[in-house]
Symmetry: C2
Subunit: 347 residues, 2 copies
Amino acid sequence: MSRHRIEDGNRLTMEDVARHAGVSAMTVSRALRSPATVNKETRERVAMSIADTGYIHNLVASALASKRSGLVAIILPTIASSMFADSIKGVSEVVRRRGGQIVIAETLYSSAEEERVVAALLGRRPDGLIIIGVSHTRRMRQLVERSGVPVVETWDSTTRPLDNLVSLSNYDAARAMTKALLDNGFRRIAFVGSMGRDHRAEMRAKGYVAALNARGIATPQIIRVDDIASMDTGTQVVEEILANPRRPEAVFFLNDVLAAGALLAFQSRGISVPGDIGVAGFGGFDLGRHLNPSLSTVHIPRYEIGCIAADILMDRIEGKVEAPINRRVEFEVLLRGSTARSRADVR
Amino acid sequence: MSRHRIEDGNRLTMEDVARHAGVSAMTVSRALRSPATVNKETRERVAMSIADTGYIHNLVASALASKRSGLVAIILPTIASSMFADSIKGVSEVVRRRGGQIVIAETLYSSAEEERVVAALLGRRPDGLIIIGVSHTRRMRQLVERSGVPVVETWDSTTRPLDNLVSLSNYDAARAMTKALLDNGFRRIAFVGSMGRDHRAEMRAKGYVAALNARGIATPQIIRVDDIASMDTGTQVVEEILANPRRPEAVFFLNDVLAAGALLAFQSRGISVPGDIGVAGFGGFDLGRHLNPSLSTVHIPRYEIGCIAADILMDRIEGKVEAPINRRVEFEVLLRGSTARSRADVR
DNA sequence: GTGAAAGCGCTAACAG
DNA sequence: CTGTTAGCGCTTTCAC
């Protein structure tokens, strides 16, 4: 249990390594950051010396002196949502491969918290910022813009990005799914959305309404729920729907978690999906494919979004690109068993 | 699109704020870190000045000077596993509440990668380290011990922790579930485990074998799979099981994702669960409760593990506690519909 | 309660 | 290819 707080490893400096290797600290620094500029033999002596002493490059001091922290900050609504986990993974892998490290902070879908969190994060002088969402307070925009740090916003679309954008149209995606359901013969389609101030959720609700309106249906039926991350909410929505005398023919959920919870709840109550009611989700999670019937959904390239965002950011950080980039990613409507209107429709 | 890299916000220093407020930089520093030691009026002038200028406290310089980074590093197998996401969330919330920030790195279940990642992370001079898992290479142990940084390991148990431990016995948990299945009347029970070098998975396999042995069953049937994070793997295992003439009466899966995938795959092939075969998982995820039948599982307090680990670590960092703490968290075997042997057993 | 001096451990810039 | 010098922007320490 060697807790030698005031001891070896941590206390070593470049100077110690340099002395041990018979060179100057600057050479150690070079051997660490741009090995190519150091004579091979010298470099090897330094490497030995580092191994011998157990030195660990102090990235804090390095960041202060070089004004490059090697940190990419990620701001997202919540870590524990499968929606974003895959995107973070994409970011994490790319950033790591390109020599950086990620720091993460959650906003819990709150603008106030986003402001606080951004300020704290900027204090770390990250080289770049990846933000899930495009809806920010004025102060938060100011904070970020004044910091001069390159940014990539993603998972939503906007005409006024902070900087770079990996754009996903939640509006178009929801409209496309709703249209597909209408084409499939469903008329009374309900939408389950969010109670909160979640911009992406709002855009999906609007896309749903637009698709209905385009078919002359002026009576959207939107059910708003609070906790959008739990299958239990799906169950509760089912109760609500079954209590309603005018039952919809299909229900389109904000995300696959809610949809899956609802599909299973319908079934456990003896309601047949899609026979008695159609169910569709959003997100394109694995789970949906495995349900019986499998779940219709809008597939979002979650992992790719993370990779693309990170690559754009790193290119910018490394100065490979100057102008802000605006890259759109595509969704895909997947109609599966849960919205099939005849046996032949089932996939 | 104000990309004024060489400009305002970022370039401001404490000195600027101090001048603006008519005090010294040291007073600004105090107002920021220990407001109580600064005269109220002065403190307010400083606050105004910070607001006016848009200054953001440079935590990099602060960390270098104070030797406290405010960073808690988390090392885990993979970010995109629901197993750990809730634990990270717990850590994230506690650390944030207590004034810190988290940095995350994944090992992808590889020891070599863990070594690399730890070295990179230690370079940031984190105030503490939270590691998921207890199985490390010698060099990795050395690295961490020599760094003198407080550590909490978790999600596994060991008699030789690096420092603090939030201990979970995967062995006991798997043994308890297996015993429960045996008590329930199942005899031929198969276990689906990991192919890899995942210590937690190995302990679960051993717990399963131990429970069988305790009943005089000397023929465990272990199916090893590669990708333990995908429901598809559950489907593949089902194929394998159905192809086997000597079909087990129940299958105990390494985790709920595999179990859920298998349960749904059995059903889509017309095999009744639990009528034809029992299915049990591990983890205690929401999903399991919603399946029909609901999934038997071993519940793990995932979120709590994160909170406890973070609190122990922060107490240690703040010097509130001196000696390493070893805290055990409890699992709970939940027998549900997927392993019910009679209608009365169904819950 | 506030300020001045010194230095945390590194790297930029320049010199050789 | 390698070394020297001068900071990076804070906080520690000590003085007042």
